[in-house]
Structure formats: structure tokens, C-alpha cells
Subunit: 266 residues, 2 copies
Amino acid sequence: MTEHVEGRLLIIGGAEDKKNECKILKRFVQEAGGKESRITVLTAATELPLQVGNEYHSLFLELGAREVQVLDVSDRIQANRRGIGKEFENSTGVFFTGGDQLRITGLLGGTILGSTLQQLYERGVIIAGTSAGASVMSDTMIVGGEAGTAKKDSLTMAPGLGLLRSVVIDQHFAQRGRIGRLLSAISHNPYVLGVGIDEDTAILVQDDARFTVVGSNTVTVADASSSTTTNVSETSPGQSLVLSPILLHVLSDGYGFDLKRRESLL
Amino acid sequence: MTEHVEGRLLIIGGAEDKKNECKILKRFVQEAGGKESRITVLTAATELPLQVGNEYHSLFLELGAREVQVLDVSDRIQANRRGIGKEFENSTGVFFTGGDQLRITGLLGGTILGSTLQQLYERGVIIAGTSAGASVMSDTMIVGGEAGTAKKDSLTMAPGLGLLRSVVIDQHFAQRGRIGRLLSAISHNPYVLGVGIDEDTAILVQDDARFTVVGSNTVTVADASSSTTTNVSETSPGQSLVLSPILLHVLSDGYGFDLKRRESLL
């Protein structure tokens, strides 16, 4: 049995507003402790760590954070170097930038930095991620796949950071027409909930059990657990998928969802 | 009470294969009577009636039709001219090309051609349409609207030909990321079923009650009739939609759906 975890996650669908109201990033700073916050930006995902790191560094300070450090880890040796746990463990908020999700898991998985992250999460420190940084939050993550029609095996998946259980995340969701690949992902194991997060939109997950939507667009939850008609075990790769029925929930700012009971909160 | 109608419709999501197997167009010719078929192509939707008309004319003959006529109606006077009913009423299959759905309804609505079409449908003559020709089949049709996030009033609708009741059709569905606008459409009145048809995919509707999927991609049925959470009557135009739960059915070639019972057929 797993212990109860107090974890908090802010999972952002990419392209969050950085110029106007900055609603999502402001919420992150607030959840991290506002004027008392010490934020660590992890740029592992991006190949432009300096540029991206600097941008978030300035933004979080403008939005009222007390301290912001950018931790650029570009190989596993750095993620295991002595002292990295110390630099990291006082954070009250952690932020993963966008880029390539496999860089995050490939660099952090099984390292000191990775296990310190897990400890921070279990202590209730808010862990945020945008775009690729959103995808990595779950047990199994979507790494790639085409937009368009739901096809069998039209996407690639890999083990994620495992902070959020029994869920698979997709980002830039409506903007890139990704419902087909999300449905394809959950068809492999309908126990898993699909959560598609639009750009400039986030879910704030609390207690591993419920989330609230923050931002300007929508979050789509797809639940195929009661599906009775499917061709997933029969068709060949690349064939069009059959999956029916699926329960879909489209939610916007302020609306909530219970991930355990699989229903929207009024 | 409306009478029982024997009508058959072949509603195609656009970009149907015209070069290889031609599965959908072949099915149309077969449903129209095969070697005994007399097909009328209606090019009202397109601004290139000659080119588009000629293409389908050749195709249907190649696929085994007995006679093919292209009826180009470019204004309402032509759609009402003496004799047009005669030219049309012997058809065993009618095919609407793609283009602009408002051209079809604007030119045919309330004309002799329009009422002859209705009679043919009621007699069981198969009526097919692709792309814009697909959208016009229902009572209310989607005329336009952006892809992406489901927003309130992000689409325009108009009265369609009304051959298929209580359904709203969208075409080029997965290819153009149109699930948001289909959900927006059905949120206005969840009594209406949303049917999104991918490119090179069609539904063959029989007896106004059930359909079978034909083609290479998928058909998505969205049913919001049991939704309990929505913001459609509260939000301002352009705001992100809330709709939960929605029942979704993703079906591919050979699978069927009962439009009255709102469930997939095994």
C-alpha cells in the first residue's frame, strides 16, 4: 500500500500567458508561498536553458517570489553531483520548463535530483510543469504521436516521473488537435484517465485526488473505463481505433474534477 | 407525428478516396442500384461546377453506374425552372459535392428542386454528400467556426436540408481538429447528437435510425444529453465551454450506431 501523499501539482498545457495577467504563473508563485517562496526552475527539457531559465527567473521575481534559482542539468553526472540535493531541497516550488519530455526523465530518472524531487513532492512542495514539463508528471507519459484520427499505436509512450498516478496527460491539446492520440493512449488500458490540457490552461492537483482548472481555455478528461466496444486487441498498428462509450468532461477555469470518483465537481 | 421514412443517406467527411479502392464512392453506386443506377450529381455547393461535376461524372461511370447526369444549378430561378423535377425525379442516387453549405441551402431551399429531393429521399433513393454536402443533411447545420478549444458561440449555424433529424454533422473532423466546435454546437441543445466524420470516412444512415461506418478513418459521436455540468447559459460569447459528462463513441469501418437508442451496435 502506498502512503497518503500531500502532493500538489500544477500541470500546464504550454504557452501560458507571460505578458498580461499571468494568471497561471501567478498562481504558481502563490502556491509556492508568495513572498516567502523559494523557487527552483528546472530547464532540463529545453536545449535553450539559459534563455528559457532567464525568462522564468525574471517572471517569478516580478510576480513576487522571494528567491528564484535556475538549475540547469544537462547530463546525469550533474544530476548526481554532490551537494545538488542541498541546493534543491529548500525549494518551496519547482518549475519544469517545456522542451522534450525524454530529456527530463532521461536526465533525472534514478538520480539524486530525481529522488530529491520525489521527497519535495511528498512534503507538499508544489511541482509545476509546462508543455513537456506537464507530460512528465504521470506514471506513463505520451512522448510523441500525430494529430488527427485515433489510430492504434499512432503514439509513443514512456515511463514518466510518476507523481500523478493512473492518469496520462497531453498538452497543447485543442490547439494541436490531440484528442485522437489521447484516446489511443487510454485505449491501451482504460483504467488510466486521459487528461488533455489546452494552452494557457492548467490543472492544480491536490492530494493526488482532485484538480481545479486555472486559465483561459479548457481541460478535457477522457474516461474509457466503462467502454464495451473496442478493437484495440484485434487491429493491426495504424488502423483506426474503435472505442465506445467514452465519458468526456470539458472543464474551464474554476471548475473541478475528482480523479478517484471520475466525475466533475459542481 | 411524422411518417416513417425509408430514407437512406451516405454522409461523407470530405476528401474521399477517388484514386485507389474508392470504397465510399463504390458503395454509393452500389446503394444507388449499381449497373441499374441513374445518378444525379448536384454541384450547387462548388464554384467550380464544371470541373468537379466532370470528375464525379467520370468516376461514377467507371465505378459501374448506368447513367450519370450533372445538374448545375447556380441560381434559384434554375432550381425552379419548368421541367427540373422531371430531369431529377428518375434518379436512383443523388450526390452533393463539396464547397459551401450555404450555397446548397440558399439555392435549393423552398424550390422545386428542393422538394423533389425530399420526395426522392422519402421514396428511399440514396442521397449522398461530401464535405459541405455532408453538413447540409441535418436539421441544423454547422456553417463555420474555428478549430481548437470549445468556446461559447465560436461557430455559426443555419437551417440545413433536414433529411436527418436531431443530429448535427461536422466533416474533415479529426483532420481539422473540430471536436471543440462540435461540442459547442451540441451544448446549445444537448438533445441533438453530434456526429464528426473524418476525411475518407462516411456514415451510411438507414431508416433515419442507424448508421454503419464506411471508410478508412473514424466517426465520433458526441452525446451530451446526460450532461449535468455546463456553463452554456451563463457565460459570455467567446468564453471557454464547460460540458460534463459527454458520452463519446469512436467508431471505424464496419461498426454501427443506433441514433435513437444512442449506443453503438456490436
